[in-house]
Each structure stands twice: as structure tokens, then as C-alpha cells.
């Protein structure tokens, strides 16, 4: 028993243990609060999107932090996951009446389709590196958004019908699943906080298993020194593809969860800004730092809502906070000070 405990808090596994503990504790605390003292509607409405953005940021961290490639098109994968989930959920609305089961099917479908696209895009993309890769992923995100903006998909007694660019569908008493720029409307809201929590756990599990496996070590070695890694027989393209595909699957999952939390969803939501937002979360939390990503996403997502009382100055303050914190976390002085503080408190505790 003691050994397991020791193992959990050993240097190698500490980050993982903290991640799971932190997420679980936060979940329990919020659930308890919700069921006892109650919670404001605002806070409740932020729970699921926060979970989505955490998963998105974690998936992006896998590419940017762990694999060392800059992707600017993660909103594209999120969009694929989101709209696949909406379509699957719409199609199975009458056949699968259990909400949880339908959520699982939709999210799984969203993740898989996003993963397939991730694989397709990784073939040409991962032959490139650095800035080139960033630009190609950026273009990819835009392509996905534009494609979805032009798809009209509907279902009626004759089956599934689709048209492109202009809406030529003539449905007989059926239902539109996707209507171009208007996206999906009238979606059944089946995401909830618990499902978001479970998906964060799955994401953490996948990422940590990967980092701690031989694939993960290969990915990181390819990041740190490409030539050295190649010289010991690691296939750079294969390891990078693996990281990229896993990341796109997770981003698709985030999108699916997100889509099923709102009654309407427009493709314009998944634009360049969303990709950048995710990147900000990742950089803010520290490249490759899983716990940092979770915390920074939570804070940065909730902050603008908490600043609502400042009215017109809200976004200004948000921007200032962003700059100040970025500066502080990178300043040697502040780091030294924190280190000293840390020593002062923890060394004392250890001596007792």
C-alpha cells in the first residue's frame, strides 16, 4: 500500500497524480456545491464549455508542447467533431432514446471522424515542419470552416439528402440537420458536466499513457533533437503522425461535447480566433505542462465572465491581465522569489 502511494508521488508520476487529483477534487467540490448551497446559473452554464476548452487545450498541448509542432488549425478538428456529433445525434434521435448512450455514440463518432481527418491532413503536413506546418494547418482550419458553411444536409422519409453551396433540398416533412451558414439548429442538449468530467479524465489518461510510453519518448526525442532521434532509428514522420492523430481525435471529442451543449451551432464559431484562443491557453499554462494547461484554461475562460461587473472595461482588463501574467511567469525575478518562498515554507514543513 505504501509502495503504491510512494509510486504515485514519485518524481515520474507526480504530475499525473496531481492532474487526476485536481480534476477529481474540482469535480466533487462543484457537484457538492451544486447539490447543497446551489450555484449561480452563470457558473453552471460555464461548466461544460470550460471542460471542452480544457480538452481542446490539452489536445493542442500534445502537438505544440509534447511534439513540438505549431498547429493553428485545431478549431478545424473541433468543428469536424462538433458537426459529426450533431448529425449523428440528430439521426439517432428517435432510434436511441437513452441520452447517455446517444451522447457516447455521437462523441465517439465525432472523435473518429476528426481522427480520420487528422490522419489525412498529417500525410502532407508532417513532411513539413516549423512555420510551414503552422501555415498549412491554418489553411486546413479555414478549409474545414468554409466546407461546413456550404453544406446543406437534411433527412426525410426518402433518406439523407445533401446539397452544396446553395440549398436545393426539398424535404417532405423531414428535418434539416445542417443548413449552411446557419449550421445546426434545434439540437437536443445532451452534454452535461459529468460527461465533460469523464472526458477530461479520458483525455488525461490518453495523454499520460502516451507520454510515459515508448512512443511518447520517441515523440519527445524527435522534438528535442531530430537528427539524433533519426540516427537511433526512430521514424520521425510516424511518431509525429501518431501525436497529431491522437491530438485531432481529442479535439474532435472536445468539439462533440461542445456542440451537444448548445441548441444551435454555427460553423463561423470555429474560426481562426478559436484556434488562437486554444493556443493562448496552452502557452499561458506552459508548453508541455498538462496541469498548467488545465489551470490556465479554467482561469482564462472564466475570467471575462467574472469581470462582467466592470462593463465596458471588461475586455481591456482581460487583455491587461493576460499581458501581466505572461510577463510575470517569464520573469526571472519573480521565479526566484517564488522559489525562495517555496523553500521557506516547504523546507520547514519537511524538517518537522
Amino acid at each position: 500500500m505504501k509502495n503504491i502511494f510512494k509510486n504515485l508521488f514519485s518524481k515520474k508520476n507526480l504530475s499525473r497524480t496531481i492532474s487526476f487529483l485536481m480534476v477529481t477534487l474540482a469535480y466533487i467540490l462543484i457537484e457538492v456545491m451544486m447539490n447543497t448551497v446551489g450555484m449561480s446559473r452563470l457558473f453552471k452554464s460555464l461548466l461544460v464549455p470550460t471542460c471542452c476548452y480544457i480538452i481542446l487545450a490539452l489536445s493542442l498541448n500534445l502537438v505544440v508542447g509534447i511534439s513540438g509542432e505549431l498547429s493553428l488549425g485545431h478549431a478545424g478538428f473541433m468543428a469536424i467533431g462538433a458537426f459529426t456529433a450533431v448529425i449523428v445525434s440528430g439521426l439517432t434521435l428517435t432510434t436511441v432514446t437513452n441520452d447517455i448512450l446517444r451522447l457516447i455514440i455521437s462523441v465517439a463518432a465525432g472523435s473518429i471522424v476528426a481522427g480520420i481527418f487528422g490522419f489525412i491532413i498529417s500525410v502532407p503536413v508532417l513532411k513539413l515542419s516549423g512555420d510551414y506546418l503552422a501555415i498549412v494547418t491554418l489553411a486546413f482550419g479555414q478549409i474545414i470552416k468554409s466546407l461546413i458553411t456550404n453544406i446543406y444536409l437534411g433527412i426525410d422519409s426518402k433518406g439523407l439528402q445533401m446539397s452544396f453551396v446553395t440549398n436545393t433540398l426539398n424535404l417532405e416533412g423531414g428535418k434539416m440537420l445542417l443548413s449552411g451558414p446557419m449550421g445546426a439548429t434545434d439540437t437536443a442538449k445532451i452534454s452535461n458536466f459529468t460527461s465533460g468530467f469523464v472526458m477530461i479524465l479520458i483525455t488525461l489518461f490518453v495523454i499520460y499513457s502516451m507520454i510515459n510510453s515508448k512512443y511518447g519518448r520517441a515523440i519527445m526525442s524527435a522534438r528535442d533533437n531530430r537528427i539524433a532521434a533519426e540516427s537511433i532509428g526512430i521514424s520521425i514522420t510516424r511518431t509525429k503522425t501518431l501525436a497529431f492523430v491522437v491530438s485531432s481525435i481529442l479535439a474532435g471529442m472536445a468539439g462533440a461535447l461542445y456542440a451537444l451543449n448548445y441548441s444551435t451551432l454555427q460553423p463561423a464559431k470555429f474560426d481562426f480566433n478559436t484556434s488562437i484562443l486554444a493556443l493562448v491557453y496552452v502557452v499561458f499554462g506552459g508548453l508541455g505542462n498538462i496541469n498548467g494547461t488545465i489551470i490556465s484554461t479554467t482561469i482564462l475562460y472564466i475570467l471575462p465572465e467574472l469581470l462582467r461587473s466592470l462593463q465596458d472595461y471588461r475586455m481591456l482588463i482581460y487583455a491587461i491581465v493576460l499581458i501581466v501574467v505572461m510577463q510575470l511567469t517569464n520573469s526571472a525575478k519573480v521565479k526566484n522569489y517564488l522559489e525562495k518562498l517555496n523553500k521557506k515554507f516547504f523546507r520547514k514543513g519537511a524538517a518537522e
Partner: protein
């Protein structure tokens, strides 16, 4: 262990802050008695107060505030407590804004200013049974969907399909011999909605549409030379712009630069172009737009409203402002008609107001004898205005 400490601290911060915002929740609408027989109604609204579309949000906020101040200063038994939240014209933020207003105890709402945000919260208003009427959210998704009608959601402005149809009808009556080109924003709910109906109605009315593939998207909304050149080459002498004023201002500028001077024709999204910062208003000279409100009208209500708005904010109110002003008065009229007073059953309020709206007739600055259908759409007459010497003038 350092990390753990940081983690715990951060969590503590987030949770305590979240707890703070918890304070105002839970009361669905019981107000403190205000003495006498007056009753204060909490009126909420969300709209863009930052970002691209903020002209609309601010117009609605300012006009609603004028209406609320007027009512509160009068001897009316119904008083309003007005609060507006920023939603950046984004569906996700609109849900947060709605939740904030709900926590505050909103009883009646001006819904949202833009269509995209409105579509995202339409179901929330319906589920929570809060009566809402939007001044400017023109998509039908705000008031009904294919599968169901939101009985408590209403509109003060025309719906997108109606605007497209009305534009085509107006052109058929006044510009029947013109060659028409259309430039629209294909990834925008509003623009695509108007466009679709316009093209259908134009075909039905035998209008000569020579160029209708002038689509652009959010990413290509700075350079319109392709569309304008194509329109010019097709010989179009009327360019229909069912888009918001921001890209429209660029289109006007670029058309001038290439010496292309057709008649430009916009819908309600064009309203606001004259107050756009840094825009040379001479470019908009001769621009037609379809709107229910003309600030130069001489009826008493319009003159009074325009004067009050100018005194307070130093500019001529646009149609969004007028619609918001009307919304507040329409809500007041409905509340008076149902005899709303202290202790009125909160859970029946939405149904009673909806029943009132579908049966009453309202006279405001955006039209006389307005009525509402069961599905929440308004019925009033659109007017065409043309910009002359930097102000709107009725075209008829």
C-alpha cells in the same frame, strides 16, 4: 509540492470568485415592495457592446435606457430596472450573458440584439418561461424552429425572409427595369437568410438579376474587387447588399475607387453606416435602405424620440434604437393590460404577456397598428429611405 500548492491556490481563487457571483441567485422575481402601488420589473437584454457589431448593441442600450428613464420619471405604475450584458454577438457568450441576467432575477427581456446570439438562447428563454421580445434579432430561429414554436419569444423587427421578400417587392415596384447584382455574406445567418428569400422572390417577380454569386465570407470581407468587377461587367446598375454596414462601407468605398456608381440598396443591417467611425458619409449618398423607421418622419412620437436621443447621445437614432424604444413601450403596454402588480403570479407572466401580445395593437415610432402573430413575428409596413445630404429621407 510547489506545483500542488499553486494548483490548490488557483482552485481556491476560482471557486471563491465563483461563489461570489452566486450571491444574487435564487430569487425568481419577488421584489421589495416599493411603496405606493408602483411595481418594478427587471428588464434584461444582451447584445454586442464590444467587437464588430457594437454599434447595434449600443444603439439598443441607449434607446432602451431613454424609454426606461421616461417611464420611470412618469406617473406610470409600472417601473423598469434595466440591465444590459455584453454578448459579443457570439452564441456561447450569449448563454453566459443570459445566465448572468437570470441570476440577477430578470423577469422580462429584450432578448438579444443579434440573430446568432438569439438563436443560441431562444430555447433557454422558453425553458425558463421568461417573456422576451427582440428589437433587432431578425432570424426566425429566435421565435420558432422547424419542430416547435417558442410561445414566449417575439420580434419587433422584420424577419430575414420578410426583408428579402419586401426588398424584391419594392424593387419590382420601383426599379423594375434595373439590372440587379447581389453581394452577400455566405457564412452569416442574417445575410444568407435574406439572400435566399430575395433570390426566390426576385425570380417570382421576374426581376432581372444579372449577378447573384457575389458571396463573401468573414475571411474575405476586406476586398470586394472581384465581386464589384463581376457586377460591373454584368452591367448591373443596382447592387443589392443584404449585409451589415461594416463590409458595406468598404464596398461603397471600393466601388467609388473603381468609378462604379450603381444604385446601392441595403436592408436593416445597413442602418448604422452613417455613425460608423471614420466613414466618409458622402460615399453613402443615394443609398437606399429598407427600414421600418425614418428619423425625419414628422409624427409626434418620432419627433419626440429623435429629440430625446439627440439630446442625450448627440446622434440621430437608427432603426435598432427605434425598435428597442418600441420594445420597452410595448412591454409596458402589455404589462398594464394584464394588470401587472405586486404579487402577480410569476410563473404565469410569460403566458399572459404572450397572450396579450398576440391580441393587442401597438403604436410606436417604427409603425402604426403593429400586431403580432402566434409565431412571434411582427406585422408592420416597411418603408424605404434614401440617404440624402447625410440623413435618411423617406424615398416615397
Amino acid at each position: 509540492m510547489k506545483k500542488l500548492l499553486v494548483v490548490l491556490l488557483a482552485m481556491l481563487c476560482v471557486l471563491t470568485l465563483a461563489g461570489c457571483s452566486n450571491g444574487g441567485s435564487g430569487n425568481g422575481g419577488n421584489n421589495e415592495p416599493t411603496g405606493d402601488e408602483t411595481v418594478t420589473v427587471k428588464l434584461g437584454c444582451s447584445g454586442p457592446l464590444s467587437g464588430d457589431a457594437k454599434v447595434y448593441g449600443e444603439a439598443v442600450r441607449n434607446a432602451a435606457q431613454i424609454a426606461v428613464d421616461e417611464i420611470n420619471a412618469s406617473d406610470s405604475k409600472i417601473k423598469f430596472d434595466f440591465r444590459m450584458e455584453d454578448d459579443e454577438a457570439d452564441g456561447e457568450k450569449a448563454v453566459s450573458a443570459y445566465s448572468t441576467l437570470f441570476d440577477w432575477g430578470m423577469q422580462v427581456s429584450l432578448f438579444t440584439v443579434t440573430s446568432g446570439s438569439g438563436a443560441a438562447v431562444a430555447a433557454n428563454y422558453d425553458e425558463d418561461g421568461i417573456f422576451a421580445i427582440t428589437p433587432s434579432g431578425s432570424s426566425t430561429a429566435l421565435v420558432y424552429t422547424e419542430s416547435k414554436n417558442y410561445p414566449g419569444n417575439f420580434q419587433m423587427c422584420f424577419t430575414d425572409p420578410n426583408q428579402g421578400v419586401a426588398s424584391a417587392d419594392y424593387m419590382a415596384a420601383n426599379f423594375a427595369d434595373k439590372k440587379i447584382a447581389v453581394i452577400y455574406k455566405s457564412d452569416d445567418v442574417y445575410s444568407a437568410g435574406v439572400y435566399e428569400k430575395f433570390v426566390a422572390e426576385a425570380a417570382a417577380k421576374n426581376l432581372n438579376v444579372v449577378y447573384k454569386d457575389g458571396a463573401f465570407t468573414d475571411d474575405s470581407s476586406t476586398d470586394f474587387s472581384t465581386q464589384l468587377t463581376a457586377a460591373k461587367d454584368a452591367g448591373a446598375d443596382l447592387v443589392y447588399l443584404p449585409i451589415y454596414y461594416q463590409p458595406a462601407s468598404l464596398i461603397l468605398k471600393q466601388a467609388k475607387d473603381m468609378d462604379y456608381a450603381p444604385v446601392f440598396f441595403g436592408v436593416d443591417g445597413m442602418d448604422g453606416i452613417l455613425t460608423l467611425e471614420g466613414f466618409d458619409t458622402s460615399l453613402a449618398e443615394g443609398l437606399y435602405l429598407l427600414t421600418p423607421f425614418a428619423a425625419d418622419a414628422s409624427d409626434e412620437a418620432t419627433v419626440h424620440f429623435v429629440k430625446a436621443f439627440q439630446e442625450k447621445y448627440g446622434e440621430v437614432p437608427n432603426q435598432f434604437a427605434a425598435d428597442a424604444y418600441d420594445c420597452v413601450y410595448a412591454i409596458k403596454q402589455a404589462l398594464e393590460n394584464i394588470g401587472y402588480k405586486e404579487g402577480y403570479a410569476t410563473n404565469g407572466l410569460c403566458e399572459d404577456l404572450a397572450a396579450q401580445f398576440t391580441s393587442m395593437t401597438f403604436n410606436g415610432v417604427t409603425g402604426e397598428n403593429m400586431t403580432w402573430a402566434e409565431n412571434g413575428e411582427v406585422s408592420k409596413a416597411p418603408k424605404a429611405v434614401v440617404i440624402t445630404n447625410g440623413v435618411y429621407v423617406s424615398a416615397d
